[in-house]
Amino acid sequence: MEVNGVATKSEEEQFAVWNQVFRIYDLVFGLPPHAQALHFEIRRDNHVEYLTRGLSHLGPGFSVMDATRPWICYWVMHSIALLGDCVGDKLETGIIDFLERCQDPNGGYGGGPGQMPHLAATYAAINTLVTIGGTKSLSSINRETIYGFLLRMKDSSGGFRMHDGGEIDVRACYTAISVASILNILDHRLIQGTGDYITRCQTYEGGIAGEPSSEAHGGYTFCGLAAMVLMNEVNRLNLPQLINWIVFRQGVEGGFQGRTNKLVDGCYSFWQGAAAAIIQRLHSTVMEQLGLPLSKTDFSQGASCDSSNSDQEEEHSEPECCVNDICQPEIVGVNHNGDRFIKAPQEMGPLFNTFALQQYILLCSQEEAGFRDKPGKSRDHYHTCYVLSGLSISHHAGTRNVDRPPRTIDVMGPYSNLLEPVHPLYNVVFDKYKEAFRFFSSSNP
């Protein structure tokens, strides 16, 4: 690696990471094939055990997470679902019950029983309940009061506050819009002005920041992009610039960094990877912004491509009108953005190197049980969730339709490594999303 002049602090830290990562790669690729193969296996049972334990018991060090317990539920349940596994009825019932106790009578969920409702806790709770699925879980959600809560969190700037008197940022916008969308309660009053706010958060670098003028950042980029898609306003973002920024966030290590000149971190496998994957379904919007005619689908990664559906007509499923009495066509339209999005085929091939990302995840992020930021850091449930989510994105990025299985070459390691596909806008397992969509489309608020 070349250094011009004296290495800066950024460069020194980067060299240290490269050292660690390439040492691991050299080690693994120097092994005989059989031993090598072991390193590329996802240690499913170990991960599930680690995750399940987190649902039952957490040490005193977790006291600082006392206001984020719904997040722990989501990180664990979503990870387990990605691994194609599940927890017992007793635990599921326990979680449904716990989240009900976190639900505020005036709407929204707090970080624990008796805590003020908070948008992030609400997002985590809703996604957890969707992941559990089933009538008991989904009907425990009070959509009417949640709607009221979301509306109260709306700020005159167009953004949302995380909680009463709380901070406003792109995360808050995403969590609010995502929850409203998946619960089929998104409307113009919630959307109004949010697109303005998020657009102001796209920076000169091309990525999206937490607040206007702040630095472009992977987490906020995912949040901003997903929210805009759900509101059907994604054309207001400069997509070519956004794509260019995202793809430059992938380093030679294979993983993604969160910001320019910062270090790789496993969690950005999802934040950046999913942002890239979302764009793959925005082909026509991107082409429009480039001033180019819509060509035949250019769907390929390197030499081979999945052409299994290339001859089929694009399906634009019309939204089913929900039976809801107060449902207005406007509401039906916008609530089905998430569904229209995922049903549309991926017109573009992967924009990032899915193999390199999988390699980083399997060899550098994976521990005996659980996943971590990078070598030298400790595992935690948050990283386990987002690394696995990013891995799922990588597996399915080369597949045109979400419910089709990927090719063998799309999955690094044994094909049994394959994870469940997610709906990239909400980050819930696709089958669970489908169930929730049906449930909330047909029931009255």
Binding site: F62, A67, M116, E211, S214
Partner: protein, 335 residues
């Protein structure tokens, strides 16, 4: 009061006479609790008492002290913070003292959302007079971590709402001297150049900023930050950017350098897509790079953008699928 003091000197609430009238409220996790945290006794007790005053909406000095204890045990409890704000307002507490409290707990929790938000709330109430102190505070944070995201957002908020822009550009220079690769500092520079009421705005500043950025690029062509900053100066109009002879010249020079030219080519490609006509020097430099690599033979003058993509696919393989896609989105006029 930090957590060590709490441990040594702590008297349980049940033994504190001033709390004898309060019935603590236990947490209701239900009969089959999940994500059970093994709280220490002092944590349980403190939160039980907090719940009591919170539910009673008691806004008194003792409940204020209680929130402090609760915060020291879990600075992430946003309910406690919000309630503390209500008490501070109700009691009309001197917020300068509150800032001192914030200074104490900030060191151990540099990335806690609630602490930064509370700080912003205080600063807003204190007004313009707080500007200098807040800038000093973020400066201290940056001396530990020059990229702390919350600190940068806070600093920007302070400048926008409370002012004090005078030294901001030179502060960016300081940070660049420490680390020219600090992207947060580059972002801040863009912020200052575009938003400072003292500088005249982007159009006025553009020329000198281009000179500054080019210097940074030449010192370290592999540093992505100044390249993105350069595009920002021209509001991502790559064609206009490359039409500036100084910019074309630095791209040429970097290409002739023989390595670390990915960012240069990224920029050139965007310009070519928008019908930028490169001069002979730049064209020659691109051709030199092309022929130094083992790439398909091509003599056609009109395929320069495509050739740039071929180069990038080869020298920047992590982004091969992206460069491949870029090849397919070259408008026919640019080919």
């Amino acid at each position: 009061m930090d957590s060590e003091d709490v441990k040594e000197n702590r008297v349980p609430f049940s033994n504190r006479s001033e709390w004898s009238d309060i019935k603590p409220v236990p947490q209701d996790d239900g009969p089959n609790p999940v994500v059970v945290i093994d709280y220490k006794d002092e944590f349980v007790e403190t939160m039980d008492y907090f719940r009591a005053v919170y539910m009673a909406d008691e806004r008194t000095p003792r409940s204020l002290d209680l929130t402090r204890e609760a915060i020291s045990l879990n600075p992430g409890n946003y309910t406690v913070w919000q309630f503390r704000r209500l008490i501070l307002e109700h009691l009309n507490v001197n917020l300068h003292e509150e800032l001192q409290f914030m200074d104490q707990i900030a060191t151990k929790n540099p990335k806690n959302y609630q602490i930064w938000h509370h700080r912003r709330w205080i600063a807003e109430k204190l007004g313009v007079g707080a500007a200098h102190k807040e800038l000093e505070f973020t400066r201290r944070v940056f001396s530990q971590d020059a990229k702390n995201y919350h600190a940068w957002s806070h600093r920007q908020w302070v400048l926008l709402n409370l002012g004090c822009w005078e030294d901001e550009l030179s502060y960016c220079d300081e940070l660049f001297n420490d680390d020219i690769c600090n992207n947060s500092a580059w972002n801040q520079r863009f912020f200052v150049v575009t938003k400072s009421p003292l500088l005249g705005g982007l159009d006025v500043m553009r020329d000198s900023e281009i000179m500054f950025t080019i210097k940074a690029i030449l010192a370290k062509p592999g540093n992505e930050s100044p390249w993105r900053y350069l595009r920002g100066l021209y509001q991502n109009d790559a064609k206009s950017l490359l039409n500036d002879p100084r910019v074309a010249s630095v791209c040429t020079e970097v290409l002739l350098g023989g390595s670390q030219y990915v960012h240069a080519l990224n920029l050139v490609l965007d310009a070519l897509i928008h019908q930028f006509q490169p001069g002979e020097d730049l064209k020659g430099a691109i051709e030199a790079v092309y022929s130094s690599l083992d790439l398909p033979d091509s003599t056609s003058d009109s395929e320069l953008a495509k050739r740039v993509c071929f180069i990038l696919e080869k020298v920047d393989p992590i982004r091969a699928s992206y460069w491949h896609w870029r090849k397919t989105t070259i408008p026919s006029q640019a080919l």
